[in-house]
Structures are given as C-alpha cells and as structure tokens.
Symmetry: C2
Subunit: 363 residues, 2 copies
DNA sequence: TTCAAGAATGTTTGCGTAAACATAGCGAGA
DNA sequence: TCTCGCTATGTTTACGCAAACATTCTTGAA
C-alpha cells in the first residue's frame, strides 16, 4: 500500500473532521476564481476602481479602464454573484412557480420566460408544484424567499383550487399568469374571449346552424372565459347555446364527451376548449363512424405542434405563449425596478388556424 | 400639495441620483430580514451559537438550542443564502442546460430534475438554449459559472451539432443526459437498445415477416442506438433489414416518410423512432387509405400522453423520464459531495405499451 | 499666481455567515 | 487534590464586493 491509498482509506476510517475538511476546502478553493483584489493587484489599481470598471461607471480614466479590463481578461475574472448579492440585496434572479410542466402552453411560456429573463441578465429559479394546495404554494414561496429571488412569476392553474386559499407573496414583486382577475398583481394572459369568438364565428361562417362546446373544467377561469365568449357569440348570432359538457382538459375526457355529442346526429360543429379534448373528441367521432369534417367539424384551442398532424389536421386557435412569457418578465422587471406595480391585466391576441377539421355542413 | 406629493413629484423631475438611490435603498432595506445577530441578541447567545443551531450541529445544549429556535421562529429568521454562499462557496443550486424545452421527454425530465433537486435542498437554475452551437453552450456554461451553481445537468440533443465541438465544464461537477458515450462525464439515459428491441420483437411476434424503420436524424445518438438495435433484432431473427428512411423527429417528417412507406404494399409493420413521427406516418397511411392496424401496424417510441388518443391509440415504448431526471440529480449530488465522479453510463429500462395500432398481418 | 471645483482614484467599512481559534466549566482518573 | 481532556459557548476573522467617505490631481477663472 502506498501513501495515497493510505490517505484514501483514511477518509472512510479516520476522524471525520479531517475527511470532511480536506476535500471541501480544497474544492472550494479550487472553485474560487480570482477576486476583485487579484485584478486590482494585477492592474496596479485599487479594488474600488476595479469595481467601478466592472459596473460600467464612467468616472474612470480610459487608460486605467483598459488596464483593468486587460487584467480581468488575463485572469479570467468573473464577479462573484454571492458577494454582490450580499452587498446589494439583489440576486438578479427570478423565481417561477408553476403547477403543471406537462402542459403545452406552460412549457412554451416557461421557455419564453427563461429566455427573456436570461436576456435581461436574470437567472430563472424553477419550482414545479405537483400538489397545488395552499401549503405547497406557501412552501414554494418561502423557498424562493430563502433563495433571495428578486421577483416571482406564478403560473396558475386556477381550476385546481379555490382562489381564496392562495396566499401570495406580500413583499416580493410578482406577476401572475392566469385568467382570473383580483389577485392584486399584474397579470398576463391570452385573450381567451377573442379566441373563443374566432372559433365560434369560424364555424358559423361555414354555415353551421349551431355550435356545440366541450368546456374545460368549471373551476378554470380560462375555461370559463372561453365558454362565456362562445355563448355570447352564439347569442349575438341569435342562436341559443346548447348545454355544455365539461371535460378536464385531457384527451380522455374529450373522448368521453365526444362519444356523447357524436351520437347526436344534430351535432355538426364542435368547439373544444383545448386541442387535447378536440383530439379525444375526434377519436370518438372516428369510432362512431362520423366523418370529419364531412359530418362534423371540430375546432380546438392552443395549437399544439402535433395538431397539424392529427387526423384530420385540426383547425384551432393559436395562443402566443411566447408573448405571454415575454410580457410577464417585462412587467416583473418593471416592478423590480421600482416602477408602478400596475395591477392591470395584459392580454395577448390569438389567431385562428384553419386546417382540415372544419368544413361547411353536409346538409 | 402636501409634502408627500412633493416628494413623489421629485422622483420623476429632480436629480436622477436621488430618484435611483432612494427607492432601491429603501426596498433593499425592507427586504432584508432579521440577521443571525438579531436572533443571537434575542436569544441572549452569540451569533456563532445561532449559526450552530441553524446548521444542525450537535454541540449545543438542548436548553440553549430551544431558546435559539424560539427566537428564530419569533423573528421569522431565515438564513441569508448570499452570505452563506459567499462564506462557503456553495450555492446549493444546480444549473440545467437544455436544448429543447418543447420535447416531451425533455420537459418530463426537467420536471423530475427540478423535483429531485428541490427535495435535496437545491434550487434549479434553468438555461434553455435555442441555437445549439458551441458558442451558446459555452456562453450558457459561463453564465452558470457566474451564478456559482454547484453543478450542471446538460440535456443534449446530440444530433444538432458535432460532439467534438462541445466544450464542457472543466472544474464543475456535471452530468450529461444523452446517449453518446465519451464526454468523460457520468451519463444517464434511457435504454434505447432495449426499447427498440421490444418494439421490433413485438411486431415479429405478431407474425410480421419484416419490420420497416423510420429513423431519427442520423446525427442523434439515441436515434442511432434505436436503429442499431432494431437492425440487430432483425438480424437475430434471420431477417435482412430494409433501407431506413430518416426523419427529424417531427410529425411532418414522419408524414413524409410514411407516404413513401405507405405506398409500398409490402410494408405491413413500421417502427418509428418516436411517437411524433409515428403520428405523422399514421396520418400518411390514413390518407393513402391503408388501414391501421389491419393493413399496417405502427409502433412508436416515447409514450406521449396523447398517444393513447391517437387514431388508433398508438402501441409504443414508454421511457421512464422521471427516473432519468432523478438519477441524474442523484449522480450529480454525489459528485458535488466529492464522491467518485464515476464516469459511467447509467441506463434506465423501458416498457412496451401495447395498444391498438398493432396487430397480426392480414395475409 | 492662487484657489475653488470637479474628476480620478484610494481607504474604510459593513453586508450575514461560519470557520478557526479562544475560553470557560466540568467530570474522570492519577 | 490536581491535572487532563472534553463539551459548550464566545470572539475574531475573512469570504468578495461596492457604498460612503477621503485623498490626490487637474483645470480654469479670479
């Protein structure tokens, strides 16, 4: 046995104080890059001057500035975020609490949020929640507070719990992505009403006398908005809206409702509150032997990437999730900067994507 | 006008130095909670003792510990992460670099990663990349280094660039989620070979004489693994593998290849390298009037949530993305703890999900 | 020529924490 | 009884940075 092996064995056998000290200290030292002081020494200036250069302040002579920049580059200096945060109280980090990463819209939104935040020099601290009760929301919020995030974006799935239960951050800038008003925070959301109107009008324009609706869960604000708008659009056309059957956003629930609607020969036009339920409904129609779009037209909501390849390709409402994410960061950064935390709802327009699942009624 | 209004007006009109100072300082002060010193004073002990309690060290008398804990609770004390990080050099934060948030597998994996990391007391710092060139990878890595993350999980989409181009972190623990060996980092991945074998064997077991394959992009290691395993399985059954047509994972590309394969009456069994291409291929088969599974059987890979509702419901290979995410965090934390950075590949088993898109051949 | 005003730069200090070191107190064995 | 050695606790210090304040130098007007 050589010395190295002895030492290695010692790690597991001998005093723990030695074993825990040695590697951690070593790795910590190794990880630490050059400090502001090292740069100062290399450039022959004071640490404060380096700090000034590092923060882009103006009152530094060009020549000095260059010397400092050179030293920085040569040493590979990177400002230490922990120290900066400790000093300034700002972490340049924003937290994202979201309830459902597996939703198409949410993941697109998250992507946009992360991109926008990065561009603004902020890091994104993600906390996905699975069990959306008050406890977990509060817990997530506390975790983020410990992490010293500068602000929070919360992507709600309002239908999963009672709004009154939600305890939102009090002293932390926040933006909520949701359709329900009244959190007292700036909100960003797709223009649900517009989208639902587009969908309904499209079917009416094709000549359908009636448009059936597969609603989302009743406790979802966005689902409610879509339903209300669909009803209003029919109203305006002098049509009395039929009974709404509700799913839970899943393809399976769409299938259930689709079976029910499909059996009714009266039904020639269906507007589903999301693409997945539309997909399920189409499957039901296939099984019932009803042709799409010849016998029944179907419109969805979301515009999943896959929707172009459904059978038939689905006519749907495209949501601009990218804009939703980008806007929410924009508003959050405004708040962090201390500007008016305008408690308003910002709305993002939608677009009708006409594909193969809709046509004029057969009769 | 009262004094308050004067002051408020001053913010927008008077010297900028004043306006920028005042709110930021105020908010910073307001945000700072009680410090370890405040707790110490309240409990009548030294700051160090509070620190010991806070870190769960043992050499504190039970009575003292209780007094400190009470004081903490009463003051609502939360350790300051910045200070802790500055002192210890550890941020309790792991970075995630991923190339494609909009992939089903990736988002599931991310979810698992975030959950596992949270449970271990680590925060997740997400950096999604859109343009996966060496530059952006390096940039993302540098950003994470600035953020002082303790480790990095990189979710590669190997097919998007040349592996040799990738500059991986040198002094930062890392785990790679990918199918290509040789990064010199621990890797975690689905057992691609097993899955492809399951799919191919399933079709052969049903009585098909030949199995056609829609491959993923040639530069993707996971695609390559699936293809190789498919070929080997046919080999072992004494069947010479037909020419492979490659898609790019998208439904659209699956549709293209599906049209080509579907026109060949010989083709009775198709194994697509992912569910989306399988979906595209099924659309092509529908358009060509070929019945699924009566005329042609189709198997996918991934098991998207929607796959149960495709028409017909898709037989596919389920990947356990949750396990992939969980294992990658496990390995990363081991490395961070200083344990052997075992540069091994960990493989996660798959499962065949038989649904309605496969059946015995008609003949 | 003198000095005030301002620009460039340096020095001191403290953010909150925890390691390192110091001290006090107490029990066991010589 | 007197150490020795342990445990519980306190004190000092440094992590890296940037505000606050201090100093030096430059410039131009009186």
């Amino acid at each position: 046995m050589n010395i190295q092996e002895d030492a290695a064995d010692g790690v597991s056998l001998a005093s723990t104080s030695h074993t825990s000290d040695s590697p951690s200290v070593r790795s910590a030292r190794a990880a630490r890059g050059p400090s502001i002081g090292d740069v100062a020494r290399a450039a022959g200036v004071s640490a404060q001057t380096v700090s000034r250069v590092s923060n882009g302040l103006t009152n530094v002579e060009e020549k000095t500035k260059q010397r400092v920049l050179d030293a920085m580059k040569q040493l590979g200096y990177r400002p230490n975020r922990a120290a900066r945060a400790l000093k300034s109280g700002q972490f340049k980090s924003i937290g994202v609490i979201m309830f459902n990463l597996s939703t198409y819209g949410n993941r697109r939104t998250l992507d946009a949020i992360a991109t926008a935040a990065s561009q603004a020099g902020y890091s994104v601290n993600l906390i996905p929640l699975h069990d959306p009760t008050t406890g977990t929301v509060t817990g997530a919020y506390n975790r983020l507070k410990e992490q010293d995030v500068d602000g929070v974006v919360i992507i709600f799935e309002a239908h999963l719990f009672d709004r009154a239960d939600i305890t939102l951050p009090e002293d932390l800038p926040a933006v909520v992505i949701d359709s329900s008003p009244g959190y007292g925070y700036p909100m960003v959301d797709t223009d649900q009403a517009e989208g639902a109107r587009f969908a309904t009008e499209h079917l009416l324009d094709l000549g359908h006398q009636q448009v059936w609706h597969i609603g989302g869960p009743v406790s979802s604000f966005s689902a409610r908005h879509r339903e209300e708008s669909w009803r209003r659009t029919l109203d305006e056309a002098g049509i009395e809206a039929p009974t709404v059957l509700h799913g839970d956003w899943s393809t399976e629930s769409g299938y259930q409702v689709g079976m029910e609607l499909g059996r009714d020969r009266e039904v020639t036009a269906i507007f589903a509150a999301n693409d997945q339920m539309a997909l399920g409904a189409m499957r039901a129609l296939h099984e019932l032997g009803r042709l799409i779009p010849d016998d029944v037209s179907v419109v969805g909501f979301d515009d999943l990437e896959e929707s172009t390849s459904f059978w038939p390709p689905l006519t749907t409402i495209r949501q601009d999730f990218l804009a939703v994410g980008r806007l929410s960061i924009e508003k959050l950064l405004q708040q962090i900067a201390g500007n008016t935390p305008a408690s308003v709802v910002t709305t993002v327009p939608t677009r009708l994507m006409v594909r193969k699942s809709t046509a004029a009624p057969a009769g």
